[in-house]
Structure formats: structure tokens, C-alpha cells
């Protein structure tokens, strides 16, 4: 039994996570993070979600506080999100938020409230290796909902202070528990959008927030032939097929984005397959760095089945992996997360496709 701060979003997963901790006899404190004071009234900072979280907390009998984290959130998530799009990359705000806000600012806040553990409603598992005693981050028991990808940036030292109570459950089991315990969010639909851009297109948000657009330019094919012009590079992402405005002939996909010239390169699907990638600002969740030549698997965006990959070079800060079978649409700005089986070895931010 320990004092645990649980991050509550008002959704069913974190609600059930909190309830499971209470059931297990912990002294639980619910905290909802106010992340974005911007104009959006929907998304994860909607009033209804905070009220739902408060109702759940009341239902399970724990103290509950809404706390403002909008300053670190804007600095580490919103501003990078916008700058990444403007420079022709495709950011992953949820992973950024976990790394820099939840597992940093919130964890600090939790410790200051005397908490020994931080809990979230993510589908992933923290497992203690019985032989070495080392704590490992592993994928959720049921792969369909696995969110371990988003957690690769957690500081290694915090891993043993992290509780993920729903990581061994299916979504249906979680909903069933919510119903059984009469939590008022049992039937609540899932939110899929990036919270602070709710109701807008990403491009629209980027333009409104920054007051400018990514560099305009042309769309060219593999031979360099100009197919069309476009209004800003922030409207594109690697692997994109729709909305290119070049609707003739065989399907074409975005292969790469050049922010300094505003050039969008397109090609057939095969052209989007890379042999590997380089990632920077790595975070490792293993006691020793992986060895060059070590076979692992890599996941390069959230909806992506990990594929076999071999580590080519590795340091504390960056790594290069090769995927013998190729990687579809390696997208700079996304996270590349390395797995050894279902264990998260570490990850980094994709710098370039190789």
C-alpha cells in the first residue's frame, strides 16, 4: 500500500486504472491535467472530461485535483508540434506529452504531494525481471490496444515508480469493470484526436497558432517533373496519398518533404519503402545499450506492426537501424521504438530515412 497519483483524463481507461488502485488498497490521489488553455472547448481539456474525472473520483472515494500544466505543455508539445510541421516533419504530440509533461512535470508534482508512484491508464505493462530485478516496459498483454509505443520516452529511473493497472486487460474487460463498479464513464466513447487541435485540421491549427504557413512549393515526381504546386509544406506527411491534387494515373505517395525549397516528392508506393532510419534524442529503458548487429524489431508510428530490424550503430543519444524487409513510409518527427519481443528497449525521434 502506497500513495499513488493517478493521471485521470475523464476517460474509461484512467478511471478504471484509478479504481483498480483503490481496490488494491493504495492511497490514491486523482489529478487531471489542464494542458491547453487555448480556445478549443473539446478534446482532452474539455470541461465535460474534467467533470467526468471528478465524478469518477468521487464515486471511488479519492481526492481529486485539476492542475494546470499548460506552460510546460505549450513549450514541449504545442510549439514543437507546430515547428515540426512547418519544417516538413510530422510530430507525435502524445509521445512528446508523455515524455516531457506527464513523466516529468506531473511526476514532480506527484512527488511533491508525497506520492511514491505515478499511475496512468495506458495499455502497457511494467514488469520486474525476476532474475535481474530490473524493471522493464513491455507491450500490453493484448496487442490490439498496445500503447507502449507512446511511452518510450519515460525516464528510466521513473519506470520503477510507474504503475499501469490496465496493461494486462482488454478494452472490453476495462469497460466491464467500469460497468461493474458503476463508474459514470463506462460507456464513454474513445477520443482519437490530438487534444489541442480538436475540431480542426492540423494544417489549420499550425497556421492559426504560428500566424504563418509552411513554405509553399511544388509537387514533383521521381524524375523531378513538376506535377502541381501547393500552398505549404505543413499540409503534407510522408506516405500520404490523398489530397495531393494530382489525381491522374497510378496512385502516388509522398516520399519526402524538403522544407527549405518547399518541394514535395511523390512516387509509387515502392518508393516510400526505406531500408532503415536514423533516430536522435534516444531514450533507453534497458541497463545496457543494444549491441550493433543485435536483432530487434522496430515500430515507426502508432499504427504500425513492428518489423524485424538490426541495430547498425548505437549511442546514448542516437541510433541507426536497418530493416531487411524494408520500412513503409519512414516519417521524420515520429518516434522509432525498438522492441525485443514485447519488451521496449528504447526509442528515439526519427531524423531521416535511410
Amino acid at each position: 500500500m502506497a500513495r499513488v497519483v493517478v493521471a485521470m483524463s475523464g476517460g474509461v481507461d484512467s478511471s478504471v486504472a484509478a479504481a483498480l488502485l483503490v481496490r488494491d488498497g493504495h492511497e490514491v490521489i486523482g489529478v487531471a491535467m489542464r494542458l491547453w488553455a487555448g480556445p478549443s472547448e473539446s478534446g482532452c481539456c474539455s470541461l465535460d472530461d474534467f467533470l467526468d474525472a471528478r465524478r469518477v473520483a468521487n464515486r471511488i472515494g479519492i481526492p481529486f485535483y485539476v492542475m494546470d500544466f499548460s506552460v510546460p505543455f505549450e513549450r514541449h508539445v504545442v510549439r514543437p508540434f507546430v515547428e515540426e510541421y512547418l519544417s516538413g516533419r510530422t510530430p507525435n504530440p502524445c509521445a512528446l506529452c508523455n515524455q516531457f509533461v506527464k513523466f516529468d512535470a506531473l511526476w514532480q508534482r506527484a512527488r511533491s504531494l508525497g506520492a511514491e508512484y505515478l499511475a496512468t491508464g495506458h495499455y502497457a505493462r511494467v514488469v520486474r525481471d525476476m532474475e535481474t530485478g530490473a524493471v522493464q516496459l513491455r507491450a500490453a498483454t493484448y496487442g490490439a490496444k498496445d500503447q507502449s509505443y507512446f511511452l518510450f520516452g519515460i525516464p528510466c529511473g521513473l519506470l520503477e515508480r510507474l504503475l499501469l493497472p490496465v496493461g494486462d486487460k482488454t478494452k472490453e474487460e476495462v469497460r466491464e469493470l467500469a460497468r461493474e463498479w458503476d463508474l459514470p464513464v463506462a460507456e464513454k466513447p474513445e477520443s482519437q484526436e490530438v487534444c489541442f487541435v480538436a475540431g480542426k485540421s492540423y494544417a489549420q491549427f499550425v497556421e492559426e497558432y504560428s500566424g504563418r504557413a509552411g513554405r509553399a512549393g511544388v509537387i514533383v515526381d521521381e524524375s523531378g517533373r513538376v506535377l502541381a504546386s501547393h500552398k505549404g509544406i505543413h499540409r503534407f506527411t510522408v506516405g500520404q496519398r490523398r489530397g495531393l491534387g494530382i489525381g491522374v494515373g497510378s496512385p502516388r505517395y509522398v516520399v519526402s518533404l524538403e522544407s527549405d525549397t518547399g518541394t514535395v516528392r511523390v512516387g509509387p508506393k515502392a518508393a516510400t519503402v526505406a531500408r532503415g532510419l536514423r533516430a536522435r534524442n534516444a531514450n533507453w529503458l534497458v541497463p545496457a545499450l543494444p549491441e550493433p548487429g543485435q536483432p530487434l524489431s522496430v515500430k515507426i508510428r502508432s499504427r504500425f506492426q513492428p518489423v524485424p530490424a538490426v541495430v547498425e550503430s548505437v549511442s546514448q543519444k542516437d541510433f541507426v537501424v536497418r530493416a531487411p524487409r524494408g520500412l513503409q513510409a519512414v516519417t521524420p518527427g515520429q518516434a522509432a521504438v525498438l522492441y525485443d519481443g514485447d519488451r521496449v528497449v528504447g526509442g528515439g525521434w526519427i531524423d531521416v530515412a535511410l
Binding site: I29, P80, Q108, S112
Partner: protein
């Protein structure tokens, strides 16, 4: 945590209903359920209860019966006063201050859309109105209305209402004062203002009831139209129990106001004496006669208000930040920002506001928990997590 272990230091937010008020209300929540507008005996009993209550309010405040208009609380009182004045006049200029309660500031912003001009008089760093500049502003004949809160809910500043009243009378400017935080806490002379807003739950009455004292001869348009209740100024079946409870609580609070001032001031000063020992503490409220005796707003450097409020709540001490968003997260108070406090420091501000049941023993216990919480929060935050620079452009 048992309820008896709770130390409630949030009296400017609300106060517990006094048992005398509850007892007075009970019949009208149950057996005496008549509509005051009905002519039969049940209606008549309710009508009499309201008029008795009005007489009590009038006696407690020193006004006339026709001058009291019951409302659903302080916010409605401010709306009836400000919008009611505006709707009965041609658009002109209203003077107010930037530290008013949002239930004054927001309706004034709304009036701006209707063609009124809103000018903000300067306040000094302690929140006191700059009388010289105020007088200067009122030299413009287009200024027809002034709205100056009697006492500030956050930093507790009491305005020099006698001076303000004199300046307004000379200039024939209608003066409204939001006295929600003053009535019951300090002696208030309603004759100094043309319109006065009052809320019952700030002095031991129930929530959902208040009143405006409208000086005779001040023209006001109703916001709620329909029945002829409250002389046509506020249609709608009266909140009989609420009005009765408010009157009872007001009679008690005004009778006991000197004792309230003495006991809360003694305890407030005692609290400050202990908090002042903490390094890096900043006090925003005054301690003299020009401040509410029960209010102490402070900030501890490096200690975020969200964190301190949660830590104190976990130890059973209930306090507030200056402002909170709709969801409940602390926000930098507009009052502090308007008095020149930097936003970073304003984010740390917490308000202790003492009620009539405060005691030195409770204050000592609270102060000890505050000091402990501040040290603990600083210890944790003092070991900074790695300073992350975002990696963009690196």
C-alpha cells in the same frame, strides 16, 4: 479524513449555513409551501414571511423596505444593478476598476457591445482606488455610472467608499457597489451607494439568494419580466426559504460584526506572523483598517498554487487560489495582475479567508500544516528534474 479534522479557511468563497438560519428556513421548505402571490392562507403566510424578512434586512442595513430587491445572489444583484441602470438610460460612460469581481466585469463588457463605454480607474499596488485619478475621470460629463466594489474578494482591499460616494454625488454619477465581500464582515453604510449588491451565503445564509439595495429615485429596468414580484423589478416566484434564511443570517452577522472583525483580525495576524517566517513569502493583502480583517493572500516563491492547495487539502486545510478555471485549475488572478504582480508569482498565490468559527488553536494547526507543505513542496521541486530543452534545432 473526518469532517471534524477539516480546517476551513475559504470563507470568502462561501460560509456554512448558520443553524439559526436553517431553523428559520425549515418551515418554508416543507409545510409552509405556499406561493407568496397566492391569496389563500398558505400564500399569505409566505408573503408575510418575505415581508418580515425584508423588514429585518432593512433594519440590519439601514435602508427602506421599498429599496430592497431580492435576487438569486450576488451575480444577479450585480447584473440587475448594472444592466438595469444601463437599460433605463441612453448609452454613456461607466467607470469601474480592473480588480472588480467577474460578475461586474463581464456584464460591463457586454454593455460595451451595446454602445456603453467602459473606463477603468487606476488602483494602487495594494488595490486601493486612486481617488485623484477617479475624480479626474468623473469630470467628463459623459460618465453617468460608477461601479466600485466595496471590498475585494481576493486581496481584501476595502475602498474609501465615503470619499468615492462624495465624488460621485458632486458629479451626479450613479454609484453601484458590489458589497458581497463586505456585508457581514465589516460595518457597511448602504447610504454611501445608490445601488448595493449583497449575497447571503457569504455571511452564513443559504446559497442562491441575495439582494440589491436600490436607493429611492434610482431608475432601474428589470432583467426578468413577468409577474409583479419585487415591485416588478424581479419577476419570478420568490425563493421564500432562501430569503427568510438570508434575513436571519444578516441580522446575526450585522449584530456580531464587531466581534467578527476582532476575532478574525487576531487570527489572521497570528496566521501571518507564522507564515512570515517562511523564506520567500510574499503578502498581497493589507493588515490595516483598509483591508478585510479575515483575508490573507500570499504567495510562496517556487510553490505553485495548484500544488499547495492540493497538499493542504490532503492535510485537511481548505484554501483557494485567487481564480480557478471552469475545470478547477488555479489561474493567475486578474486582481493580482492588475495590481502589477508578475504572472509567475500570481500563479503561486493562495488566499486564506477566515470565518466566524475560527480560533487561535485552529489557526496554529493550519499554519503548521502550511509551513510543512511549503517546505515539502520546495524540497521536491528544489531538486529540479532534468531541464529539458526541446530538441528542435539542436
Amino acid at each position: 479524513m473526518h469532517d471534524r479534522d477539516i480546517i476551513y479557511l475559504d470563507a470568502n468563497a462561501t460560509t456554512p449555513l448558520r443553524s439559526e438560519a436553517l431553523a428559520a428556513m425549515m418551515p418554508f421548505l416543507h409545510a409552509a409551501y405556499g406561493n407568496p402571490s397566492s391569496v389563500h392562507r398558505l400564500g399569505s403566510a409566505a408573503r408575510v414571511a418575505i415581508e418580515d424578512a425584508r423588514a429585518v434586512v432593512v433594519r440590519a442595513l439601514g435602508a427602506e423596505r421599498s429599496e430592497v430587491v431580492f435576487t438569486s445572489g450576488g451575480t444577479e444583484a450585480n447584473h440587475l444593478a448594472l444592466l438595469g441602470l444601463a437599460f433605463s438610460r441612453a448609452p454613456a460612460v461607466i467607470v469601474t476598476t480592473p480588480i472588480e469581481h467577474s460578475s461586474v466585469l463581464r456584464p460591463l463588457e457586454f454593455l460595451r457591445q451595446l454602445g456603453w463605454e467602459i473606463r477603468y480607474a487606476r488602483v494602487f499596488a495594494d488595490g486601493t482606488l486612486d481617488l485623484e485619478q477617479f475624480e479626474e475621470l468623473l469630470r467628463d460629463d459623459r460618465v453617468r455610472v460608477a461601479s466600485i466594489g466595496w471590498a475585494n474578494n481576493e486581496i481584501g482591499t476595502i475602498q474609501p467608499m465615503a470619499e468615492i460616494s462624495r465624488i460621485c454625488r458632486v458629479r451626479q454619477v450613479v454609484l453601484h457597489s458590489d458589497a458581497v465581500q463586505a456585508v457581514g464582515k465589516i460595518p457597511v453604510d448602504p447610504a454611501l451607494a445608490d445601488l448595493l449588491s449583497i449575497s447571503a451565503h457569504k455571511f452564513g445564509g443559504p446559497k442562491g439568494v441575495g439582494c440589491v439595495v436600490v436607493r429611492k429615485g434610482v431608475e432601474l429596468a428589470p432583467l426578468l419580466r413577468g409577474g409583479s414580484q419585487e415591485r416588478g423589478l424581479r419577476a419570478g416566484t420568490e425563493n421564500v426559504a432562501g430569503i427568510v434564511g438570508m434575513a436571519r443570517a444578516l441580522a446575526l452577522a450585522t449584530r456580531e460584526v464587531d466581534a467578527f472583525v476582532q476575532s478574525t483580525r487576531r487570527c489572521r495576524d497570528r496566521l501571518w506572523a507564522q507564515l512570515a517566517e517562511v523564506p520567500g513569502v510574499r503578502r498581497f493583502s493589507g493588515l490595516g483598517d483598509q483591508s478585510l480583517p479575515n483575508t490573507l493572500m500570499v504567495a510562496f516563491e517556487g510553490v505553485n498554487a495548484d500544488a499547495l492547495i492540493a497538499a493542504l487539502d490532503l492535510s485537511g486545510v481548505c484554501v483557494s487560489a485567487g481564480s480557478a478555471c471552469a475545470a478547477g485549475a488555479a489561474e493567475p488572478s486578474h486582481v493580482l495582475l492588475a495590481t502589477g504582480v508578475p504572472a509567475d508569482l500570481a500563479r503561486n498565490a493562495v488566499r486564506f479567508s477566515l470565518g466566524r468559527d475560527i480560533s487561535e488553536a485552529l489557526i496554529d494547526a493550519a499554519a503548521e500544516r502550511v509551513v510543512r507543505a511549503v517546505h515539502r513542496l520546495r524540497d521536491e521541486v528544489g531538486q529540479p528534474a532534468t531541464e529539458h530543452e526541446t530538441w528542435l534545432g539542436s
